[in-house]
Every structure is written in C-alpha cells, then in structure tokens.
C-alpha cells in the first residue's frame, strides 16, 4: 500500500507539473486510483476529517465563486478602474499605483484570477489611450493580486486550506498576515516608484483621452450592484465574526451566496455554470490523493525528515519557520501552490504530533500553539507570495500573460522573471524579517 500510494502521489504531481494533461483530469484519476486500490475507502475519502475531502474548503470556494460571478455582472470593477484612472488625472505611474492597490484589495476579498480578469481589459484600454506599454501595468497587477490575496483567509486558496486545517479564523489572518502585506506592499510600491516613476511619460492629449472616458457607462445593473455589494459587505462582516459565533467560514460564505442567488434575480444555472468546476474537482482529487499518502505513512516519513532538518522545539520553531517560508516560496514559484499546501498541511499536523509527543489526534491547543503559529504564517506567506516568482507560479500570472499576448503584447518568460523574481525576493525577505521580529524578537 505504501509504495502504491507513493507512486500515485509522485506520478500525479509529476504529470500536474509537466502540464501535459489538464491538472483536474490528473487529480481525479489519481483519486480514483487511490479509491480503487482501497488505499482509502470511499467512506474515508468523503467523510473522514483527517483523511478525506475538506468540504469546508470546497464550499467556501464554491460560495465565493457564486458571489463573485454575480458581482462581475454589475460592471463595478471597470467603473472603479476608470474612475481611478481619472482621479490619477491620467498620470501613468499614479495609475499604476492605484491599479495595484485596487487589485490587491480586490484580491484580498475576492478571487485573484477574477480580479485580474476584470481589471486587465480596462488596463489595456487605458494603456492604449495613453499610448504606453501595457506590460508593466499588467505584470504589476498580477503581482499585486498575489500579494493582496495573501492578506486574508479568503484571499487565496492556500490560505483557505491552511485556515481549515489549522482551525484559524478570518481575524487571525487579519491580525497576523494583513500587517505583513501592508508593509510589503508599501515597500514594493516604493521600489516600483524608483523603477518606473521617471520612465513613464504621456502626452497631454493622451491624458485628456483618459479624462474624457465615461465610467458611468460601466455600471450595467445598478440594482444588482446594490444587492451584491450589500451581500458582500455582510459576508465579509460574517467572516470577521465567524470565530465569535463559532461558524465555519464556509457556512458564512454559503449563506451569502445563497442569499445573493435568491435576491439577485439571476438564473442559478447561469451563475452555477460559471463556477470554476475544474478547480473545485482539482481540490477534491488532491485531497483524496493526499489522504492516501497520510494513511500509508508517507507524510509521516516526510515530516520526520523535516524534523531532522530543522530540529523544531516545542517552544521555538524559528528554523522550521524560516525553512518553511523559503521552501514554500521556491516551490510555489515552480509548481501550483494548491497541491503544495495540500501536502504541507498534513505534514505540519504530523510534525505537531511528533514535536509535542502526542499519541491521540492533535488538538487545537497544539496545532495553534504559540510556537507553531509562525510556521503556519510562514507557509501562507511563502506559498502565496512565491507565486510571483514565475509566469506559471500563480493562475493570475498565467491569465495576465495570456491576455497580454492575445492583445498583441507578448510577455516572454524572461520578461516576467525580470519583474517577478526581484519582487518575490523582496517580499520573502520582508516576510522573513516580519516573522523573525514579530514572533521571535517582539513576541507578539
């Protein structure tokens, strides 16, 4: 069983990384093999909290996709982007900064891919009106979406997975990750000012073209906009309070999505058809493959290796945090961060067992022990920010590169790296300093 599960795990991940076959097909086939070989029983795959599909993650993702799908029909993002360009008075670097802020905030509360999908066309249009190269703007937005998505529990799938596994709530992310992201974002923008501040020039005539754009035309359905904004605000409020009322984030999101579907007047089959089902089934397949590796002891073996390497102590896991941060960042720049985090989550739970010498299932007290918390944050920061390291490191990057090429502005692998690698290094170094100072020097 051990070697069968290991083989399924290695081959599945290798094929996913090679991108020869669609990752959802690979994950589902791998999951089917895990079940057919009885490494996991179907009951374990579907109902066991430790080994099976994490339905909290699945329903949180589906629900947020429903809310986003309704919101995209309102045209609000295009409105905000054009309004922002006009507030910036058509100044190219100010537009770049404001668009980065909008993308980061949008990605913190919505899906990264949706945010860039909505903003990239406006960016291309505005760059065209200004007659500037849109590529720096588009790459900035991709990077901003990955940075912004790191800030909250719902911002990026790895955070959703980490929160569910470690039992962390929305406010834990706000207290621990949002300050890090604000600091990182400010530093990044200051560096961007040095890089781009004096190199972007536009004529008065072209600036006037932007100023003459009519953002009000963007709002397609004001009534739907009011409803969806209200539901989004209520849902985010629900996330803020879910820890107090002991609701899982998925319950809050499902309530928001179901209410919005009910009051929006939109056809459910249309909205549900736009849910990214391939991503959802990718998650389901991965959870089952990973469940198999947990059951046969592969994850336990990997966790022992990690313990030997980093020597974590029950009251201090500094080395583990730092290794986790850099390892996650490098891995996420090369491979999809979702399978990476899906593997690291049970590995860290197993490490908790070993470090604290537990014989029973790990409790919240140990999983969220003060010494363990920086490790979870290191995993989140590394996995999310590492996505900026290459054009294939995050879905938002892939989308931006594809849209730019279709619009006649090819972004080569190397050109993306010129932006992505320095930003990844900067953000990971800042994350390292943040974790070290906050948890190991100041002890907050």
């Amino acid at each position: 069983m051990f070697w069968t599960a290991t083989l399924i795990f290695i081959i599945s991940y290798a094929v996913i990384i090679s991108e020869k076959i669609h990752k959802t097909k690979v994950a589902l086939f791998g999951a089917a093999l895990v079940l057919i070989t009885k490494i996991l029983l179907q009951h374990e795959a579907f109902h066991d909290i430790e080994l099976g599909v994490d339905w909290n993650v699945i329903f949180l993702l589906i629900s947020m996709m429903i809310i986003i799908n309704v919101m995209t029909k309102t045209g609000v993002f295009q409105y905000v982007a054009i309004k922002a360009a006009k507030i910036a008075k058509g100044q190219p670097f100010t537009i770049m900064t404001i668009f980065a802020i909008i993308t980061a905030i949008g990605s913190a509360f919505l899906d990264n891919v949706t945010t860039v999908l909505l903003l990239a066309p406006v960016t291309l249009l505005i760059a065209e009106q200004l007659e500037v190269d849109p590529v720096p703007y588009l790459i900035t937005e991709a990077l901003a979406s990955n940075i912004g998505g790191t800030a909250t529990l719902i911002g990026d799938p790895p955070n959703i997975m980490i929160a569910s596994k470690a039992g962390l709530n929305f406010m834990d992310f706000i207290f621990h990750l949002t300050p890090a992201i604000v600091i990182i974002f400010i530093f990044w923008m200051l560096c961007w000012k040095v890089v781009f501040g004096k190199h972007l020039h536009v004529t008065e005539e072209n600036r006037n073209k932007v100023m003459a754009m009519n953002e009000r035309e963007m709002i397609k359905n004001p009534d739907l906009l009011k409803k969806s904004l209200t539901i989004l605000i209520l849902t985010i409020s629900g996330f803020v309070l879910h820890g107090i009322f002991h609701y899982e984030p998925a319950t809050v999101a499902l309530m928001g999505a179901a209410t919005l579907l009910l009051i929006s007047g939109e056809e459910p089959h249309e909205i549900l058809a736009e849910v990214e089902w391939p991503t959802i089934f990718f998650f389901i397949g991965l959870f089952i493959i990973i469940g198999g590796t947990v059951k046969v002891g592969l994850i336990e073996l990997m966790s022992q290796k990690m313990i030997n390497l980093t020597n974590p102590q029950p009251d201090n896991m500094l080395t583990l945090s730092m290794v986790m941060l850099w390892f996650s960042a490098v891995a996420s720049a090369i491979v999809d961060n979702i399978p990476f985090v899906a593997t690291m989550n049970p590995l860290l739970i197993d490490m908790v067992h070993k470090v604290y010498g537990l014989t029973e299932a790990a409790t919240a007290e140990h999983i969220r022990h003060a010494a363990m918390m920086p490790v979870w944050w290191a995993l989140a920061l590394g996995a999310c920010l590492g996505g900026n390291g290459s054009p294939i490191g995050a879905s938002a990057n892939v989308i931006v590169v594809g849209m730019s090429e279709k619009a006649g502005h090819k972004i080569t692998f190397v050109r993306f790296l010129k932006y992505g690698v320095p930003v990844t290094l900067l953000t990971i170094i800042l994350s390292m300093l943040y974790i070290y100072l906050r948890y190991y020097v100041l002890g907050w």
């Binding site: 295009q78 990239a120 066309p121 249009l125 073209k209 003459a212 009519n214 035309e217 963007m218 619009a407």
Partner: protein, 182 residues
C-alpha cells in the same frame, strides 16, 4: 431538389494575398454573405465573413460595455483598422469549413445550415473547385416555392424613415393587419 438547381453562382472571390482593406471594401460594397479565398485553380482555400473582419478590427480585450466608456469612438476605430489594414486574407481566413456537392439534396443543405448555424455553404465539384454557394435564403425560397403559393402582391417592405408620428405607426400597423386578414 438538387443543390445545383438552387445554388447561386455569382460570388465574391479573392486571392489569399488580399488585404484587410480590400476585403472590407468588397464586403461593404458588394454585400456578399462571405468572401471565398481561392487559388489559381479556383480551389477553395478559406472563407472570410463580415464577422471575421469585425472581430479583427476590435481589440481582443474589449467588450461592448468597456468600449462604451471610450469618448472618441471614431478615432479609436480608425486606429484599430489602421493597425490591421495590411493583414492578408490567408492570415485570418477560416480554413475549416463544411461544403456541399452539386448533387447533394437541398434538404442536406437545410440540415447543415441548422445544425452548424451557418449563413451560407460553398458548393465544390469533385475536383474541389468552387462552383457555387447556397445561402439560407436559397433554401427558404425553395421551401416556400415547394410548399406554398406566396401572394407576391401582398409582400412589401415598410420604409420606417417615413414614420414620424404615432398616427403613421398606427396606420402602418392597421395596414399589416388588413393584409393579414386577406
């Protein structure tokens, strides 16, 4: 009824090197359903429709909502058309197409037009040489002639530019009802 009996043979043809500008003028002025791109033997190489030209002249990222924000739309369009005016037919023509043979039945044409939602189908002989085109209207005309005796006197168009008041509209509608009553 055989395709050869209902197809039209007066088509707009162009060589693969035709520019966007030439094709746009052909479609705008000659109003064909589609332009057939042929080689020196008149073998069909590709098809270009008005949709293909419209699509090429628009930026890939834009949708109707986003473009409604542009202030000077004429200037915007001119810029984009200028950018593609030298593009050649062979670069953007549709090369995968469904064809008919002259001895196919009109019913086959009807079924293909419905299944694939095409407007028109090229007709090729056994040597793949273009010999005609069957348009939706050709099949509809054949159907009408086959099944009904249309009263040509009752068939006329309405010039909407002559309608200025509600009274004009009411008068026209009453006329339509009278025609319907026989």
């Amino acid at each position: 009824m055989l395709i050869s009996k209902i197809m039209r043979t007066n088509l707009v043809l162009a060589p693969p090197e035709s520019s966007f500008e030439t094709l746009l003028c052909q479609i705008a002025e000659l109003a064909p359903r589609q332009v057939y791109i042929v080689n020196e033997e008149l073998k069909l190489m590709g098809i270009i429709t008005g949709y293909d030209l419209l699509k090429l002249a628009l930026p890939t990222y834009a949708d109707a909502n986003l473009l409604s924000a542009v202030d000077d739309s004429d200037d915007f369009l001119k810029k984009h058309v200028a950018a593609v005016k030298e593009r050649k037919a062979h670069e953007f023509m549709v090369t995968e197409f469904t064809t008919l043979k002259p001895d196919d039945h009109a019913l086959t044409a009807e079924a293909i037009l419905v299944e694939k939602r095409f407007n028109a189908l090229p007709v090729l002989n056994e040597k793949d040489v273009l010999v005609g085109e069957v348009h939706r209207r050709d099949v509809l005309t054949y159907m009408a002639n086959l099944c009904f005796a249309c009263n040509l006197k009752k068939l006329e168009t309405v010039d909407l530019s002559l309608i200025n008041t509600n009274n004009d509209a009411s008068r026209i509608f009453k006329q339509l009802l009278d025609d319907l009553a026989g």
